[in-house]
């Protein structure tokens, strides 16, 4: 997928929210959906199970209108976090321009976070992409839980952020940190424009 098409003057960015099950990826998208004016958002597609767990994936198209003469679209996806849906994750990850990794800040979820991060790296490598070269940000979600249950941003940075990418504390249910994360990811993706040979 091409990020920028100079001929048709379109910019299309695909950002994938990745992370372990129940870390709050869908919540991020839902919050964004709720803040977008009606005329800017497409229909949010969410294929969920009875228990509100993402079975397939969420998809939120955002029409940002004409920016510097370019029709700009963002496509936000989430992947299902559960371990057994790896085929779906691979599918969703294909052609991603940037990845937001939503980690669950709870101390007892640390292992799941690490596993999911490793899984992300494997899936990217399998596609010939490298997490280090891809616009990538970390979000430490659920920071609003009681302090004794969650790890601090510094602790999570130590445990997960070995690439030194931008990281954000968040409480997606209340919306804290959601747009900060999205902004950072978007900026990284868009900044890659000038580095890549346009089509």
């Amino acid at each position: 997928m091409s990020l920028v098409n100079f001929t048709t003057r379109e910019i299309t960015c695909k950002i994938v929210y990745y992370g372990p099950g129940r870390s709050g990826k869908t919540t991020n998208l839902q919050y964004i959906y709720g803040r977008v004016p009606d005329d800017r958002r497409g229909r949010m597609v969410s294929l969920a199970t009875q228990t509100d767990r993402t079975l397939f994936f969420d998809f939120l198209p955002l029409e940002l209108g004409s920016i510097s003469g370019f029709t700009t679209r963002f496509q936000l996806y989430t992947v299902p976090g559960q371990v057994y849906y790896n085929a779906t994750r691979k599918l969703v990850l294909q052609g991603a321009d940037g990845v937001v990794f939503v980690a669950d800040s709870q101390a007892r979820q640390l292992e799941e976070n690490v596993e999911s991060l490793q899984n992300l790296q494997e899936n990217l490598l399998a596609q010939g992409a490298d997490a280090r070269g891809m616009p990538f940000v970390l979000q430490y979600n659920k920071q609003d839980l009681p302090q004794d249950l969650v790890l601090s941003k510094e602790e999570l940075d130590d445990a997960l952020n070995f690439w030194g990418v931008p990281s954000f504390s968040a409480a997606a249910l209340a919306g804290t940190g959601v747009f900060e994360t999205l902004k950072a990811a978007s900026e990284l993706v868009l900044r890659k424009l000038s580095q890549e040979e346009p089509v």
Binding site: V4, F6, T7, R9, I11, I32, G34, R35, V36, P37, R40, L64, G65, S66, I67, S68, G69, F70, T72, F74, G175, V178, F179, L182, K183, S186, E187, L190, R191, L193, S194, E197, P198, V199
Partner: protein, 662 residues
């Protein structure tokens, strides 16, 4: 007399947009290499668009890059004042010498020179002096030099000779960028869309734009409710000199409807609008990045003296171009120009300075020019017409050499490169070498150099004497094949060996065929440079031994057919049976028999030959102290030289052989 440079006015704090990009890039170039690129640099624009900022930014960067450099910024008023003070104090000369020591002179507001002829002359003198010393001069004015009333023509032409750039009023995007930066610097925060609303006012200059911002900041400080885009428009509408905000045309995405998006039912600020504004800013920066990269490329190539029309035309384009590709192509073209210019310089240094060599859009023309010049220089010596591959008589002893030659002809530069033919004198090495040359020359566009090592040495000596070694070298380097006869004669000729070595490398690298003949295998030739030996040995070294009986017979039969029309079988058998070291000695003996037969009025026969060889007086020793019948001379130094091969210009070799034989 000199104002301090205001540290706030640096390149970092300058907002670059389409209207000032050229000026900023030129300024940066000047600051980075004072005196080298555009001298003088003359920037003009209406007031309030950043001329002074630019001047100071140049000064600061120049100072930063070369802390010892003397940078002076002054306005024309200060210049006049200082001059008058110096005159009054009788210190004119001291002032002049002070100016002469400046490395970067920045003069603001040159338009005030109007009607000040004396000051104009003074400035002219300073500019001339600084320019001559390679120092940088940058000037600004509110109008182009030609519009400055009563400006001295000499000053005018001097300004025109440098670079004149203007700065236009900022466009909407630049206005927004300026507002964002300034409000950030002042830690002033506005609701989403407010600054966009301000940017919509088409103010004529940056100062007035900042005035609007000031008003907004002040209003916000006293206002109870936060400013909205609509209230900002309303507030500022009366302040702006020009028209109200544009309501038509492409407005920023954020305010496409002219109103902010409906705030969601929450106390949070409009996060989405904020996000959108961020994205818009980044996209704009990135999308426009190509224009600024292009501008920088233009500056760079212009500074190096190359025409950049092709790139400049792209700047006018709306749609971004695939810049990497364009710049790569441009760079390749410049490389090609440089290479062709270097070739031309070897032929004719003066013609190599023709402006056409600096215009990448005229590559074809340049190519034509160089080709013509090369043609004038003349091709290297080619193979002799006397030796064709078809007339090369093949036997068991020279079959391998013949097959190798055919392979070379079929796939020059690929199969056997170099081909080295080794053998005693008179076995047909030269014949085969020239034959290869002939076949190769038949390829379209082929330039085959085929000559003896002695000829090469002599040519080089002559070229050195005439100081035309470059041309001599160029002549050979354009050859598509280089065939050198008697390469062992390079022994001890260090300079020629060096030239052959470089020539070898260049031709070999570009897969052009090389072939050599030698008396012995390269490693056994004393006095031949190791690097040449290894290169020659790295190809195919084929030995051509003395002719075997079958070959000797074939030669005799062919010769008899050519000379007397029919071959006497007995004579052929008799001559073939006699051992011979070379083809040349076989032919020599046969020639003597033919001549004797003609003298006696009989047909050449075995009996006559036997009588000549074995009968009567003992045959002349075949090898005398110095001369052989075949014309081979043995030089006192021990090297074998062929008289024939020592002749440089030999118009018709076939004719010459017959004459000598007769």
């Amino acid at each position: 007399m000199t104002e301090e440079l205001n540290p706030k006015f640096s390149f970092e704090t300058l907002v670059v947009g389409a209207a000032n990009r050229l000026a900023v890039t030129a300024a940066r170039t000047v600051a980075e290499s004072p005196g080298a690129a555009y001298n003088p640099l003359f920037v003009y624009s209406p007031t309030g668009l950043g001329k002074t900022h630019l001047l100071m930014a140049i000064g600061q960067l120049a100072k930063q890059l070369a802390p010892q450099a003397r940078v002076e910024y002054l306005t024309i008023d200060e210049f006049v004042e200082a001059h008058h003070a110096a005159v009054a104090a009788g210190q004119s000369e001291a002032l002049r010498s002070r100016y002469a020591q400046i490395d970067v002179l920045l003069v603001d507001d040159v338009q005030f020179l109007t009607h000040r002829r004396e000051m104009q002359a003074e400035l002219l003198r300073i500019v001339q002096e600084l320019q001559a010393a390679g120092k940088q001069v940058v000037l600004t004015s509110d109008c182009p030099p030609a519009d400055i009333e009563d400006l001295d023509d000499r000053l005018l032409s001097r300004f025109d000779a440098g670079l004149l750039v203007d700065i236009g009023p900022p466009d909407a995007e630049t206005r927004l960028a300026i507002l964002l930066r300034r409000s950030e610097e002042r830690a002033a925060e506005f609701g989403a869309g407010v600054l966009q609303a301000v940017a919509e006012f088409e103010v004529p200059n940056v100062r007035e734009l900042l005035g609007l911002l000031n008003k907004l900041v002040a209003y916000q400080a006293v206002s109870e409710s936060p400013i909205t885009p609509a209230s900002a428009r309303e507030l500022l509408a009366g302040e702006v000199r020009t028209q109200a905000p544009m309501t038509t045309g492409p407005a920023p995405a954020l305010t496409a409807t002219g109103e902010p998006f409906a705030a969601p039912p929450s106390e949070r600020p409009d996060e989405f609008a904020d996000f959108l504004s961020d994205v818009a800013h980044t996209v704009e920066e990135q999308v426009e990045a190509w224009r600024s990269r292009l501008g920088e490329a233009i500056m760079r190539w212009e500074a190096e003296g190359y025409g950049t029309g092709r790139l400049e035309r792209l700047l006018d384009q709306d749609v971004p171009v695939s810049l990497d590709r364009v710049l790569r192509q441009f760079e390749r073209d410049v490389e090609q120009l440089r290479s062709m210019q270097a070739t031309m310089a070897k032929i004719d240094a003066e013609r190599a300075e023709d402006p056409v060599f600096y215009d990448p859009d005229r590559l074809d023309e340049v190519d034509q020019l160089v080709q013509t010049a090369l043609h004038e220089v003349g091709p290297p010596p080619g193979p002799s017409a006397a030796w064709a591959l078809s007339s090369f008589v093949i036997g068991e002893s020279n079959k391998l050499a013949h097959n190798s030659a055919q392979a070379v002809v079929k796939q020059p530069g690929v199969r056997y490169n170099p081909l080295v033919l080794v053998g005693p004198t008179g076995v047909g090495k030269t014949h085969l070498l020239h034959a290869i040359g002939h076949e190769l020359a038949a390829h379209p566009g082929a330039v085959v150099a085929c000559l003896s090592a002695q000829q090469l040495i002599d040519e080089l000596v002559e070229a050195i004497n005439n100081e035309r070694v470059d041309i001599w070298r160029t002549r050979y380097r354009r050859a598509t094949a280089f065939l050198l006869d008697d390469a062992h004669l390079l022994t001890g000729q260090d300079r020629t060996q060096e030239e052959v070595f470089h020539l070898f490398n260049e031709l070999f690298d570009s897969q052009r065929q090389l072939a050599f003949t030698m008396g012995r295998v390269p490693r056994e030739v004393e006095g031949l440079d190791d690097r040449l030996v290894s290169r020659l040995e790295g190809g195919l070294v084929v030995n051509i031994p003395s002719p075997d009986r079958e070959l000797r017979r074939s030669i005799v039969v062919r010769k008899l057919h050519e000379d007397v029309g029919a071959a006497d079988e007995e004579l052929a058998d008799y001559l073939a049976a006699r051992p011979a070291e070379s083809i040349r000695s076989v032919v020599g003996l046969l020639q003597r028999v033919i001549v004797a037969a003609e003298a006696q009025g009989v047909a050449p026969s075995a009996a006559l030959a036997r009588e000549m060889v074995e009968g009567a007086a003992p045959a002349r020793p075949r090898v005398s102290a110095a001369v052989r019948t075949s014309g081979i001379m043995i030089s006192p130094s021990g090297g074998v030289r062929s008289r024939e091969k020592m002749v440089w210009h030999w118009p018709d070799p076939a004719q010459r052989v017959i004459e000598e034989m007769a």
